[in-house]
Symmetry: C2
Subunit: 376 residues, 2 copies
């Protein structure tokens, strides 16, 4: 039984709880997945486990869910496949202990707070959690000779570019603390890699949607963070009747239908990009890639797809623009196609939202309560 038992003393303990793997096993790549109890991290862990990697998840459970780890552990119960360690990456001593007791081959660093709105309210939280904690990860990797890093970055590092689509050469001028903190983390990684033989892959995600197609994993934000949430969450809340309807803020943008345009990337495609990045990472090389579909969809299109995916007629209220939103953001994903042979396969919004809706129905209260489809 690899999974730690969830009990109150465990959660309040400032140290971490670890169930050790045996040391490095030849021929098996052992990947540390930080934030592996979160939305994207858990999907990445699932994919890595399917591909026969060994996975250690480190998560402080501030945003992630132990329920996601539990599901992964039930899917991969064999000893030595999946390990969960409860730790905060800001605790350098704890992180050092984890690296001392485990022989990692690579790190996928997902752990991060990730709400733009929240970042403007609590900037220090973001700089601490994203910038300083990435530095702790790098310092510990350097101290222990772990030389492959796959880093979760974001299109928010570009800010509001003048021209679309966004390539990896588009100037990065982030406009909120979330984007700035991620840009700082990128800069630190890049400067460090110059003097080392690290293999670095930086993936800049566009707007991530969807869930594990089998409905086992999904996005389960804390209810208190709903106000900062993403459009998919708002649509589903409306479809489920938790909210009376959906507010569309701004219909006078310079876009085809007047609503904001974004590039929605399915989480299954996103984690596929991570595995390809891991497999193609080379010492002394840095790869920076946009991960998007290359196609923009408007908020109206998104909501229409959500209506079809859920079968629910969502009530829409049109409001003036929200401060800080920009009209149009979509990627040029040609570099990742050329260099990593990756393209987005799940480019039908409705189908991606169906996977997320399946998760919603199976897990009415996120990971807190599992109910069957019929019960819903």
């Amino acid at each position: 039984m690899l999974l730690v038992k969830l009990c109150s003393s465990f959660l309040v303990d400032s140290s971490f709880y670890s169930l050790q793997f045996s040391r490095h096993e030849p021929g098996v790549t052992h990947v540390l997945v930080t934030g592996g109890a979160g939305y994207i991290g858990s999907h990445a862990a699932l994919r890595l486990l399917k591909e026969s990697y060994r996975v250690t998840i480190v998560d402080n459970l501030s945003r992630g869910n132990l329920g996601a780890v539990k599901i992964l552990q039930e899917l991969f119960p064999e000893p030595g496949r999946l390990q969960f360690i409860y730790a905060d990456l800001g605790d350098a001593k704890a992180v050092n202990k984890i690296f001392t007791e485990n022989a990692f081959d690579a790190v996928m660093h997902f752990a991060a707070v990730a709400y733009v709105g929240e970042s403007t309210q609590f900037p220090l939280k973001y700089y601490h959690n994203i910038t300083s904690n990435t530095l702790v990860v790098l310092e510990t990797m350097a101290a222990h000779g772990v030389k492959t890093l796959i880093y979760s970055s974001t299109c928010a590092t570009y800010g509001e570019p003048d021209t679309m689509p966004i390539t990896e050469e588009t100037p990065q001028v982030p406009i909120n603390p979330y984007g700035k903190a991620k840009k700082m983390a990128e800069d630190i990684i890049l400067d460090f890699s110059k003097n080392s033989d690290m293999a670095v892959m930086i993936l800049r995600y566009f707007n991530v949607i969807g869930s594990d197609p089998e409905g086992r994993l999904g996005e389960a934000p804390r209810p208190e963070l709903r106000e900062h949430g993403r459009i998919s969450g708002a649509c589903f809340d409306a479809a489920r009747g938790i909210m009376p309807g959906l507010q569309i803020k701004g219909t006078d943008y310079k876009t085809a239908d007047g609503t904001c345009v974004r590039d929605y990337i399915d989480v299954t495609d996103l984690v596929d990009a991570h595995v390809k990045a891991l497999q193609k990472a080379k010492p002394r090389k840095v790869g920076i890639y946009n991960v998007g579909t290359g196609k923009g969809s408007s908020v109206k299109e998104f909501v229409e797809a959500c209506k079809k995916a859920t079968g629910v007629e969502i009530k829409i209220e049109y409001l003036p623009r929200r401060a800080g939103d920009y009209a149009e953001v979509y990627s040029d994903p040609s570099k990742i196609k050329k260099e990593l042979n990756w393209t987005a396969k799940h480019t039908n919004l409705k189908e991606s939202l169906e996977t997320a809706w399946r998760w919603q129905k199976l897990h009415r209260n996120g990971y807190g309560l599992t109910s069957s489809v019929s019960a819903y």
Copy 2:
């Protein structure tokens, strides 16, 4: 006796040693001077003490010198004037304890590693020491309601601007980890100040030279860091015969005499700017100021001034350009003149270098060994 006793156990102790002040004293401003055992920080502490402020120095002594604190303590032995606390700002618990046990009115945050060359070799050290540690200072100030911050920034945050002089509106495009780490710290401070009632002054120094005119305090870099050192150190090493001569790297820059041009600011003027900034800091206001003379001096002019100040004929070797140097950097200091009524008074290079030379002669081995002028 306020000064801590220097003993080996003290230096290896990972916690800190503190001699507490009594709590907040009405009418007396209590300033935390981080890095107050260092070159600029110790001069600032001296000036604050002269102006009747209470001063607490926090320093990890990695670059600073306990000898500087000792001199300050001998000058201001009265109880409640000067306190020294040995602590590392990366240790958030220690910093929190310091703020719990002291009622600071303001923080002057000098503590930082500050060699461009070293920063390219050890970037993580710079991001940790400058960016992450500034975040710790801010978080702790926020937690304890300390609302005035004077921050030491640098012209290195501007990188290589296309036009001179540099104003505060010149785009910041730093080109080395030192400049980038300081820019990140500035950005974090600015984002934080948006949601708070903090009073923030950011001072961007140009090239600091000179010493306390009475020869008590000066620049005393670690010998092992000589290779990263500044031009003044190299000149004095040549004048003292420690080095056979001085190497001037690059004589074909697009400047009047072909050597690099910099804006040299006397440390006495610089700390005057800090006191003025402290006195004019206002809640919910951010002031960003260049601190320079507004006048550029070439390396050749600098060396000539150094020859005159020391009375020594320094042997010069001309070499090709050094990678990473840029031709010309000097400030437009009109904003600080207008808003803080500050101007550089010590703009004669030879006179500034005479103060530094006096320090060199009185302290042949920095703070490690004090000798008289005649002994030299």
